[in-house]
């Protein structure tokens, strides 16, 4: 029949999944092993011809269905045009796999024109298939299409496999990458996860809508890759959940993009607070003794009973040190004290920010640090304090 003939020339076997489930179902098994492999172009083509042969046999059943299928060319166009389709599919599809029908209805219109552009020769919006450029596309798409019950994963796999031989798709790949990245960062991760899972599945794809939505990256979508990517993505979402706990008020927000925005806002607000507080602190008159004592005291009181070997002695310890601090503040002479090499490096680092570098900060640092490290250098600090000018 001329239609069949035309289709065969165009390289598109008839495939209406709804109309011809049975003759193609046997092909699913045939395709499945192939789809798992990345670059089995030959097998795809071979399978295609096999199917076309089958098509001849079943042509009477196929042709009318082909003729009857309104969306066939559109679907074919869909498959041939990855990037734009995937983008459209992503943006228009509800999260998760919703009803295929509506998306199928929605998508073909959108994608067909870009696919047309892509192929160079705009096919009419009906059965007429694009020119030679579409041949391989159609083949690949059809080969993916043919098993009626294919899940999106399978078709995606084949797509990526057949992609290698489709030059037309190269222009799509950056778009797809972009889309994939975008989807990764935006909140279509559900789609992507689904698609990744689908990629790894060896089952035949379901309605083409699923497999159109998520385009495999060019040359990607081997099992290991998609698996690894999925694992990575899951880890990232774990971290995002952790961050969600940290950032207040993030529980209601869902989705990666919004979460990221919230996090960024929160961090920026914290930094602004630091700026603001630092400005205020800079303008406050130095009142360090009270500051120190109060703050140290607050710290000590806020501490749970940690590594205190001698609880009874600790308050005395603190007061002692506070006094020492005050004395140091007043006196410029610290020669009596030997600075512990506790945090010499740190002192240096912080020194870099002071306008001048008096000597005693190193010492105070050590001292304070010893206070801070509550039980670690307890003895050493006490020894040190015994050397100080001021004693309790």
């Amino acid at each position: 029949m001329d239609k069949q003939h035309y289709l065969m020339n165009a390289g598109i076997p008839l495939q209406i999944e709804a109309s011809m489930p049975i003759p193609w179902s046997s092909d699913q098994s045939f395709f499945n092993p192939n789809s798992s492999v990345d670059h089995h172009f030959d097998s795809d083509a071979f399978a295609l011809r096999h199917l076309i042969g089958k098509l001849d046999r079943s042509s009477p059943a196929a042709l009318p269905s082909l003729a009857a299928d309104p969306g066939f060319a559109e679907r074919a166009a869909k498959f041939s045009c990855f990037g734009s389709r995937s983008f459209n599919g992503r943006t228009s599809s509800p999260p998760g796999s919703a009803t295929p029908g509506q998306s199928m209805v929605a998508l073909p219109r959108v994608a067909s024109s870009p696919s047309l552009k892509l192929n160079g020769s705009p096919p009419p919006r009906n059965r007429k298939l694009p020119g030679s450029g579409a041949n391989s596309n159609e083949e690949s798409s059809v080969s993916e299409q043919i098993p009626s019950g294919e899940t999106g994963s399978n078709s995606r796999k084949r797509k990526s496999a057949s992609r290698g031989k489709n030059k037309d798709h190269r222009s799509n790949s950056p778009k797809e990458d972009e889309n994939l990245k975008r989807s990764k960062q935006t909140e279509n991760c559900e789609n992507e996860q689904e698609c990744n899972e689908n990629k790894t599945n060896q089952k035949p794809p379901e309605p083409p809508k699923d497999y159109i939505h998520v385009r495999a990256r060019r040359g990607q979508a081997t099992d290991s890759h998609s698996l690894a990517e999925r694992v990575r993505r899951e880890k990232i979402s774990e971290r995002m959940k952790l961050l969600q706990d940290l950032v207040p008020g993030c529980n209601k927000v869902t989705g990666k993009a919004l979460m990221l925005d919230e996090i960024i806002n929160y961090v920026q607000s914290l930094q602004r607070q630091v700026e603001f507080l630092s400005m205020k602190l800079a303008s406050v008159n130095p009142d360090m003794e009270n500051l120190l004592s109060k703050d140290m005291y607050q710290q000590s009181t806020s501490l749970p009973q940690q590594m205190y070997p001698l609880d009874s002695s600790s308050p005395a310890y603190y007061h002692h040190h506070q006094n020492v601090q005050q004395q140091q503040l007043h006196s410029t002479n610290i020669s009596s004290v030997d600075p512990l090499p506790l945090d010499a490096s740190l002192g240096i680092q912080i020194d870099g920010f002071a306008q001048n570098l008096p000597q005693f900060p190193a010492f105070t640092e050590d001292d304070l640090h010893s206070i801070v490290q509550m039980g670690f250098i307890h003895n050493t600090v006490q020894n040190q304090t015994s050397n100080m000018k001021v004693e309790l």
Binding site: Q271, L277, A282, N285, P286, N290, L291
Partner: protein, 140 residues
């Protein structure tokens, strides 16, 4: 999130106070030019971030990045340029210092820890302010 993170807060408080001491030690009394104010402000802010970074130490990528920048700044300070490279805190990949060189997962980790530290630092600064303001009011 360690809630509340006592060891971290202690370290932060101690270092920040030390740095503040250093700064205030050199502060001249009241009449101060705007430039001086700005310098002090920057110094305090730098001290805040420096104390954060040094109390965390090289354990975290963001603190390492901060420390690196501090050292660079310190060297640059020899030439009195006072370049206002704001501690390189820009946007998330950039908000967390040193974020450009991280992959997303570790970037999120770093962000979490960075948020913790920031929160602790802000609390400390607030406490300092309150205590100093209250004490100053009382001493007046």
């Amino acid at each position: 999130m360690k809630n509340p993170n006592y060891p971290l807060k202690k370290r932060l408080a101690s270092r920040f106070l030390k740095a503040l001491e250093k700064i205030k030690y050199n502060m001249s009394p009241s009449p101060v030019s705007i430039e001086e104010k700005r310098r002090r402000h920057r110094a305090v802010r730098g001290a805040a971030y420096a104390s954060m970074a040094s109390s965390v130490g090289p354990r975290r990528a963001w603190s390492r990045a901060l420390l690196r920048k501090m050292r660079e700044r310190k060297r640059a300070r020899r030439n009195p340029r006072n370049a206002d490279t704001r501690f390189g805190l820009n946007q998330l990949c950039d908000v967390v210092p040193g974020g450009e060189a991280m992959d997303s997962r570790s970037l999120l980790n770093e962000t979490a820890h960075y948020i913790e530290c920031l929160v602790a630092q802000v609390q400390i600064m607030r406490e300092i302010l309150h205590s100093s303001s209250s004490s100053s009011s009382t001493t007046l």
